[in-house]
Symmetry: C2
Subunit: 259 residues, 2 copies
């Protein structure tokens, strides 16, 4: 049981309309079972998902479908939101780092579709059965720092579904479902990184997770709201409860006065 992760060096700067499948296959040789992890930033660039930096706050608003939590800091407000892609994160994925000068990048419109097109293109150019993961860097509750996760996936199983299986001693693993797509994205960050300028890594040796192009994508990782115990921030939920409790008490009081 072993695998390797290698950053692809020397890729050209990506611009709108570039054919990423051609760029990647031109820069490295691939094998059956490889998983190619692509920083979503370069997919955004290829898809022309850049807007003027001056419009950043409006872009965040436009990309937001639901505000999860906010926090004021010196100089602004951090907005943790669910974005159009269903991903919960800061600033709806709108980000200036590694964006063209004076611009900010939005996430790809449909990261799973982008991953599927890229995987299909690479499979067609190389004849190799490969998987593609689009990664982004996200903060998380409870733990400081960020990790890269899968925001798009194609041709790869996003979960290693052990539910119904057994551990090494035969005991049932009733709830265990490692999110291998997130783990692969995290591994790839260790060679890609925001500072290195390397946007693509090849993970070799995990071909057991590679499969059909129409496997469920990264959107299937997103927990439905009705099963999410942390669907809004603690302060936001407290404020909602306070308002409802106050109103309920008032209406009880008015009922009492009316009676």
């Amino acid at each position: 049981m072993a695998f390797s992760v290698e950053g692809i060096e020397g890729l050209p700067e990506i611009g709108e309309g570039d054919d990423l499948a051609a760029v990647i296959t031109g820069a490295t040789s691939l094998e059956d079972g490889d998983i190619i992890v692509v920083t979503s930033k370069i997919v955004s660039k290829a898809e022309g998902r850049a807007v003027a930096a001056a419009d950043r706050e409006q872009a965040i608003t436009d990309e937001t479908v639901r505000v999860v939590a906010t926090r004021a800091y010196e100089g602004g407000v951090t907005r943790i939101v669910e974005n159009r892609q269903g991903i919960i994160g800061a600033a709806a994925g709108v980000d200036a780092s590694n964006a063209p000068d004076g611009m900010v990048l939005l996430l790809p419109v449909d990261p799973d579709a982008s991953a599927r097109a890229l995987a299909a293109g690479i499979r067609s150019l190389t004849g190799c059965s490969v998987g593609v993961i689009l990664s982004d860097t996200l903060g998380r509750p409870w733990r400081d720092g960020q990790t890269d996760v899968a925001i798009g996936a194609a041709g790869v199983h996003v979960f290693d579904d052990l539910r119904g299986g057994a551990d090494a001693s035969g005991k049932p693993l009733s709830v265990t479902m490692p999110c291998v797509a997130d783990e692969i994205a995290a591994a790839a960050e260790l060679v890609k990184g925001k500072a290195s300028g390397i946007p693509v890594a090849v993970v070799r040796g995990l071909g057991r997770y590679v499969g059909a192009l129409d496997l469920p994508g990264a959107r299937s990782i997103q927990r439905p709201l009705d099963r999410d115990l942390f669907r809004v921030g603690a302060d936001e939920a407290y404020d909602d409860g306070y308002r409802d409790g106050f109103d309920e008490s008032q209406s009880e009081g008015s009922l009492r006065r009316d009676s």
Copy 2:
């Protein structure tokens, strides 16, 4: 930029009192800069952190310092808690999988101290400058499935602190601080896994993250409560707010009646 991850096969079953440094160095050859990722389960076994499965619920209560959220399911209640180690997760880390028959395993008392002792032992036995990460499998808000994270670390930088640095085009990366310890733990899960019975992996090629034994451990990853927007579940926060709002309204009402 490349690294490899290899599971160590053929390790013996670990029991209380076993010398993990001797077991690991006896099973594989190590090099300067290697990072050894050890499933915390075998550290718990070596430290004798097993209790009878019948006492599981009490053990969870005993290991809990703060309840974060609860949810009833058919047959029980899931408790998301902060445990004695400061880690937020389900069931305080008390787990039956890969535990001895009829027993459940608690987390090591001080995972950073366990990692430090293990790293010191391996360094002493091999003369190699290695890092050690203790991993555990945790669920997370917003995203389904679990990923392995670092719950103990020694001789390794847990963050790649880019704050104050620049991206590939020179723009400042003001808040970027990848949690490389969690990413390395996640990568190692891909060869260790709950089902494979392989509890130790060697990560080779990331020696730039290896450092002194007294670097901050995995506890430094845990976000302080006052900066945690998701410090309690949405339902729990709402209920707290409701109660306070109701009471406040009542006391306003009584003030009004008193006046």
